[in-house]
């Protein structure tokens, strides 16, 4: 199915496509700011950009309700933004400021926003899958119609937690949408070289979880797929979505990613989901100026966010000692 056909098939109106386009640009602009911040030494910790993977974030998180639960990874800015988190709070988090989503205590790898049911990025690959099934078990216990979306990478399917989580979700018929964001790499490693059998797409069914594969760079098609899957998962058994995409940037903002064949990168650039969406929009009659306008608006928004966040206050030192635990909480400076 071509992108254009998908666009028609999903019966997308221009507005909806524009919304995707804007969201994807917001993600990219956010991350480009963050990467510049990292280069400038203002963003301290490691930044894992999701450039090239924005369609997955938009299609998956855009189809969640605000009270549906999301668990993300180290590469989670896009997911979190689309789920509804405030980019200013997110940027403050990266900059270590007190206005950050986690008051500056987590950084990029630990952004969480419980206000929009975003239960956290995670610094440990594959750890979120088992957490997700517990959240879903709770929802089921409450007879809630909320669902849990759990996004992870193609590298994570080689951790044992993948098996344990999918088996658990299937045994209990839990409302989890597992999303494998297959960007072909785990850090500098081509995952196909170290993943036996059919990878996630084969493992899901073997673990009793219905599995769907999709083009992860076709935002319109993926949106239609996810919309359907989310409704199926609601209240029902889990589903695994394997979205094929590509990490256009390095593993971290510091990684030149020279280990990738140039031809591969060149081919992948042509599949950039933003460019593909632009092409669809052109087919739908949107002009260059309007396209540029949407892009620039996103960039302006995130530049402003960055500037505002740069001016935010640092967390007071006492915050270091807060929220450790209720019982046996540390005294300040005990040494």
């Amino acid at each position: 199915m071509t992108d254009a056909a998908a666009a028609r098939g999903a019966n997308l109106d221009r507005e909806r496509l524009c919304a995707f386009y804007r969201q994807m640009w917001r993600i990219r602009a956010f991350e480009e700011c963050a990467m510049r911040g990292a280069e400038a030494g203002e963003v301290f910790g490691t930044v894992h950009p999701s450039i090239g993977q924005e369609a997955v974030a938009v299609a998956v998180c855009g189809n969640l309700r605000r009270d549906d639960i999301l668990l993300s990874t180290h590469r989670g800015h896009g997911h979190t933004l689309v789920k509804g988190a405030d980019p200013y709070a997110m940027m403050c988090e990266l900059l270590g400021r007190v206005d950050g989503s986690c008051r500056g205590k987590g950084g990029s790898m630990h952004i969480a926003d419980f206000g929009v049911a975003m239960l956290g990025a995670n610094g440990v690959v594959g750890a979120n899958t088992v957490i997700a099934v517990g959240a879903a078990q709770r929802l089921k216990y409450l007879r809630s119609d909320r669902i849990v979306a759990c996004i992870f990478g193609d590298g994570a399917v080689n951790r044992g937690t993948f098996l344990e989580a999918l088996n658990w979700a299937a045994v209990h018929a839990l409302p989890v949408l597992f999303v494998c964001e297959d960007n072909r790499y785990a850090a500098s490693t081509r995952t196909c070289d170290l993943t036996a059998g059919g990878g996630a797409a084969a493992r899901g069914p073997a673990l009793g979880v219905e599995t769907v594969e999709a083009d992860g760079n076709d935002v319109a098609g993926l949106d239609a797929t996810v919309r359907e899957l989310v409704e199926r998962v609601r209240g029902g058994p889990p589903v695994l979505l394997v979205a094929r995409t590509y990490r256009l940037a390095g593993h971290t903002s510091r990684d030149p990613a020279a280990y990738r064949p140039e031809a591969e990168v060149a081919a992948a650039r042509k599949e950039d989901p933003i460019a593909r969406c632009a092409a669809l929009l052109r087919l739908a009659g949107v002009g260059e100026e309007e396209l540029a306008g949407m892009r620039e608006a996103a960039c302006r928004e995130m530049d402003a966010v960055y500037e505002r966040a740069r001016g935010a206050a640092w967390p007071p030192r006492a915050l270091a000692f807060a929220d450790v635990q209720d019982v046996g909480s540390p005294e300040e400076r005990p040494f």
Binding site: G104, V130, Y141, N167, W168, D326
Partner: protein, 324 residues
């Protein structure tokens, strides 16, 4: 007061908490048939399989799912079967449960109780006998509880379940059958409070879990020799009851710390170092520690005997301390 076993006391406390609070549930292997030691007997009949959750042999998922459930309002009681198997779920416990509240800037709490039966028991050998409480005390975010008596295993389990922090709750396998009085109305026991197991004037034995009983035997021996040993049962290792320990030791001026775990790097070191640092000159002798030698737990009884700390050995160390 009714008499019951250490096992039954915990079972009853758990059942009462489950009745009181529908957010409390239990999860682990074989719970539907009462759990491997019978600690969950009868619960599935009362609370059903949604609250007494049978788990596959998936330690990562058992603990990890409990983190997710706790973040969404459940208060899971997580059965690890043997503390040794919790080593299969350390990421979930230490990197996730213990840190989530802090990393996420206080947005959420992770109220769960991880039950890890510990200790020497029936020649269970190297992979079924460990007591690793010292590890958890070292991890910010965790509370560590080790009951020694039936009454404490009721009251502390209630307190652990009501606590909003992740609690590592270590029951000693060799105490399951121990009988004792348990209040008709089980009240939560404040976490972080030691129990005076025996009052005495001449020296303080600081101890916890099964070693409390051996220490009491030693104290009885010593009493026959005219030595009056105080025995403090710490009950909670983090936070530990510094006030109670300091007060006792300031009085007796001599302290012997006794634990079943390996002595090197055991929690006794923390107590001894703290007492040395903070009470310093006021002690008549430096704090001393008894713990297992740094060897895995062997199977054969005469070898296993070498890692045990019998009452004789405690009494002997106490005498040496009094001479110092």
């Amino acid at each position: 007061m009714p008499r019951m076993t250490y096992l039954e006391a915990a079972r009853r406390a758990l059942a009462e908490e489950m009745r009181r609070d529908p957010d409390v549930w239990a999860v682990g292997e074989d719970l539907g048939r009462g759990g491997v030691f019978g600690q969950y007997r009868g619960l599935i009949e009362e609370f059903g399989p949604e609250r007494v959750i049978d788990a596959p042999i998936s330690e990562n998922a058992i603990l990890g799912s409990s983190v997710g459930a706790a973040m969404t309002g459940a208060r899971p009681v997580v059965e690890m079967r043997f503390a040794d198997f919790a080593l299969c779920a350390i990421d979930e416990l230490v990197n996730q449960a213990a840190k989530a509240r802090y990393m996420f800037g206080g947005q959420i709490r992770v109220p769960l109780v991880v039950r890890e039966p510990v200790g020497l028991w029936k020649s269970a050998a190297a992979q079924h006998s460990q007591s690793l409480e010292a590890w958890y005390v070292h991890i910010p975010g965790l509370v560590v509880v080790m009951p020694a008596t039936p009454a404490d295993n009721a009251g502390l389990l209630k307190a652990a379940i009501r606590c909003d922090d992740p609690v590592v709750y270590m029951e000693h396998k060799d105490l399951w059958g121990l009988e004792g009085e348990v209040p008709e109305e089980i009240e939560p026991i404040p976490l972080g409070t030691a129990r005076l197991a025996r009052a005495g004037r001449d020296l303080t034995l600081v101890t916890w879990s099964a070693a409390v009983h051996t220490a009491l035997d030693a104290a009885a021996q010593l009493a026959g020799e005219g030595v009056d040993a105080e025995v403090l049962d710490l009950r909670t290792l983090w936070p530990w009851d510094r006030e109670a320990v300091f007060a006792s030791v300031a009085r007796t001026r001599r302290v012997l710390i006794v634990h079943e775990a390996v002595r090197v790097g055991g929690f006794g070191a923390e107590i001894a170092a703290t007492l040395a640092e903070e009470l310093g000159d006021r002690l008549a002798a430096p704090p001393r520690r008894l713990g297992a030698p740094r060897i895995p737990v062997p199977y054969s009884p005469p070898l296993e005997q070498e890692v045990r700390i019998p009452a004789d050995r405690i009494a002997e160390a106490a005498r040496a301390l009094l001479r110092a």
